[in-house]
């Protein structure tokens, strides 16, 4: 069981976390805009998450916290 939290309003929607996830848990919320005007990343399939923190490792904006 792992928990990934996004500081969504700081996300720039670059998608590097989405590409890094080995379990394809993450996605970009194309239908949403955050405070900065970007479509942010979000956890789509939490149940598949293994807490590897690859997403956070590749996030250029330090907006991801991972708990396990």
């Amino acid at each position: 069981m792992a928990k990934v939290t996004f500081n969504t309003d700081m996300c720039k929607g670059c998608g590097l976390c989405v590409d890094a996830c080995p379990k394809n848990c993450l996605a970009i919320a194309d239908d949403k805009l955050n405070q900065k005007g970007y479509s942010p990343a979000y956890m789509q399939y939490e149940e598949k998450c293994i807490g590897c923190a690859f997403c956070a490792t590749m996030c250029p904006d330090c907006i991801i916290t991972v708990e396990k």
Binding site: M1, A2, K3, M10, K12, G13, C14, G15, L16, D19, A20, Y38, G51, A53, F54, A56, T57, M58, C59, P60, D61, C62, I63, I64, T65, V66, E67, K68
Partner: protein
């Protein structure tokens, strides 16, 4: 549940001004993680460059100074010679370190100045809008090489790590990349080593980080990291080019 990954303490709350997908943020974080792990936040003094990372002084919680273009190693030398017990690092891009500041780079390395240099090589001038850098690849299209870098006209890109490794002076010179998880983890190890060397008084340690510039390369962040693998790394191979303590050099 325990936290296994969070923003390091040595970064301020200021949001990075970098473009979406710019690996500067990753490299800043790696430096901050190393500062946290070595417990040197209170002793560290950082030197920011001119270029995209000019406002690095807003992002690190340690004391910071902003140097003139290319002069960061000289500024760092001045600080370190005054305060040898502090941990002094520079954070510089390819235009700053390998073009206008090449003399400062080479001579601080030759003196084995006991500082840590983080050199971000993304083969382009980012801040000014995508001009040719001393590390732009042959044929690379930039604003000032619109037909591709013609090496007959403007010369060849400089492999800084290989060049510095020919000097007697420096303690440690390594090239890493931040284009995937494995490389990011290895990059952190090299950065940590470069700081440890300074703490142990071993001398000049430079980590060249091969990075990307999605905006000025005209690519998506994902495609830019793929281009690092396919085009940058063949010209700029990852590796340890000088490691005096380990008796290594390529």
């Amino acid at each position: 549940m325990a936290v296994v990954f969070e923003k390091p303490k040595s970064l301020t709350d200021a949001p990075f001004h970098y473009c979406p997908g710019c690996p500067h943020g990753i490299i800043h974080r790696l430096v901050a993680e190393v500062i946290d792990e070595l417990g040197i936040e209170g002793k560290a003094i950082g030197v920011a460059p001119v270029g995209c990372a000019v406002m690095a002084y807003d992002y690190f919680t340690c004391d910071m100074i902003e140097a003139p273009h290319g002069r960061a190693p000289a500024v760092a030398t001045g600080i370190k010679r005054c305060r040898p017990d502090n941990v002094v690092f520079t954070y510089q891009g390819d235009g700053d370190l390998a073009s206008i500041g090449m003399a400062e780079t080479v001579h601080s390395a030759a003196r084995n100045e006991n500082i840590t240099v983080i050199f971000v090589n993304n083969a382009i001038y980012g801040m000014t809008g995508g001009q040719m850098a001393p590390t732009s690849l042959p044929g690379q299209v930039t604003q000032t090489s619109p037909y591709g870098r013609d090496v007959k006209h403007c010369g060849w890109p400089i492999r800084v790590s290989e060049m510095l490794a020919t000097l007697e002076g420096p303690e440690y010179v390594a090239r890493v990349a931040v284009n995937n998880v494995k490389n990011v983890k290895n990059a952190k190890k090299a950065i940590k080593r470069a700081f440890e060397n300074q703490i142990e008084g071993k001398g000049f340690s430079l980590v060249e980080v091969v990075s990307a510039c999605p905006t000025n390369w005209g690519m998506t962040p994902k495609a830019a990291l793929e281009w690092v693998e396919s085009d940058m790394l063949p010209y700029y191979p990852i590796g340890v080019y000088k490691d005096r303590s380990a008796g290594e050099g390529k």
